[in-house]
Symmetry: C2
DNA sequence: GAGTCTGTCAACAGGGTGTCGAGAAACGGC
DNA sequence: GCCGTTTCTCGACACCCTGTTGACAGACTC
């Protein structure tokens, strides 16, 4: 639904103006979300910021929510790409491989903090945002569960509750802990400590055997 | 209009009428939050439901948020009480004790589902709700950290990351996993499975030693 | 140079919040 | 029993926000 832009030199401006406006709205949104909360950014702010009137905004996007979804899509795509990169170039040790995956997913959300926090906020009220978000989580859960099962199959990890159940708990933990760390909430971990602490919980949960 | 109050002759009625109205608003709120989301309940709905006009609502509560906070306080108080009960009457085995605590905290939030989900929704935009919520979490984190340190001191649990960091990760995990379970989100655990799965992660994280 | 897209926006309709000030109702003193 | 004070009630208002409508302007198309 993009990529076909940059149509060389000439006068094929027909779509350019519209694309520029669209990009201006997205840029304005990401900038304003860095300054205040999603709820405090009105459609009028996005329009004005992009040099448009409010009704004109609606020519480009059906709602403020749609702008956020567009921004979120980019971050999600990046997180998936980073994760795939990490998996494609695995560390030699088991712990290092899990660290790679957790860190790779966290990184894009951290570097697009404004979008991440806005999405978390909007998820509370927007069905569409929630669906996108849960879709992302679903995929990470699936992949985690498959990895855990593989580790069990090769005898590296002990049995226990269904791998999928552990994967659900661990992935939601990451989401919540990273959110509170990024948002600077209390109680919360320092953003720089978070991955290591999460990794400890993952390692002990996946590989820790029976208890005393 | 209805109820007619008919409080008979308890003479110190001075505050009764007001208290009744207040309770009617709280009851209406909890009922409506069982039917639709916090955002979809307007102040007018609360007022009408309690047999009042909208401006009169503001005589009793400064905002819709204040109503939610009042409801939330009750649930939080119950969770704290249940937790204290559980601690006061400990199971004989270690795992049983942790199960008691996790289950005791979860139970009131589950039985007041409407308030729990509304608070989670409102937390995204309301500073006051977030503060209450994080205050609750802070206390659970403190208590968890102290327990973990006690287990380490008596040699039952191995060393590792600071107890407080683990406590933060584990408590946020519980919050998020229980929320998704209660809300029926996907991916999510069945509400009846959640405590056992969480318990597994806690046990392995707290007592699981070094890894392969 | 007429027709048709792509943009553009003033004005409107509708729904929400919170406030103000004029009162009605209940009570307590006398 | 009447009277002032406190408690309670609500119509009307001021605001802010969303999303739509309809008239209209510029550019490219043939």
């Amino acid at each position: 639904m993009s990529e076909s832009t940059a149509v060389a030199r000439g006068r094929r401006t027909s779509r350019n103006r519209g694309d520029d406006r669209e990009r201006a709205i997205l840029d304005t949104a990401e900038r304003l979300l860095g300054e205040r909360s999603y709820a405090d950014v009105a459609v009028d702010d996005l329009a004005r910021g992009a040099g448009l009137s409010r009704p004109t905004f609606y020519f480009y996007f059906p709602s403020k929510e749609a702008v956020l979804l567009a921004l979120l899509d980019r971050v999600v795509a990046e997180a998936r790409a980073r994760r795939d990169e990490a998996v494609a170039d695995p560390a030699p040790d088991v712990e290092g491989r899990w660290r790679q995956v957790i860190g790779a997913i966290a990184q894009p959300f951290r570097s697009h903090l404004a979008v991440t926090l806005a999405a978390a906020e909007a998820r509370a009220t927007s069905v569409a945002v929630r669906e996108v978000w849960n879709g992302v989580m679903e995929r990470f859960v699936d992949e985690t569960a498959a990895q855990v099962e593989a580790e069990r199959a090769r005898g590296a990890a002990p049995d226990g509750p269904p791998a999928r159940q552990l994967a659900i708990a661990l992935n939601w933990m990451n989401e919540r802990v990273l959110h509170s760390a990024f948002a600077g909430e209390q109680p919360g971990l320092a953003a720089d400590d978070a991955v290591e602490v999460l990794l400890t919980v993952w390692m002990r949960t996946i590989y820790g055997g029976r208890l005393p």
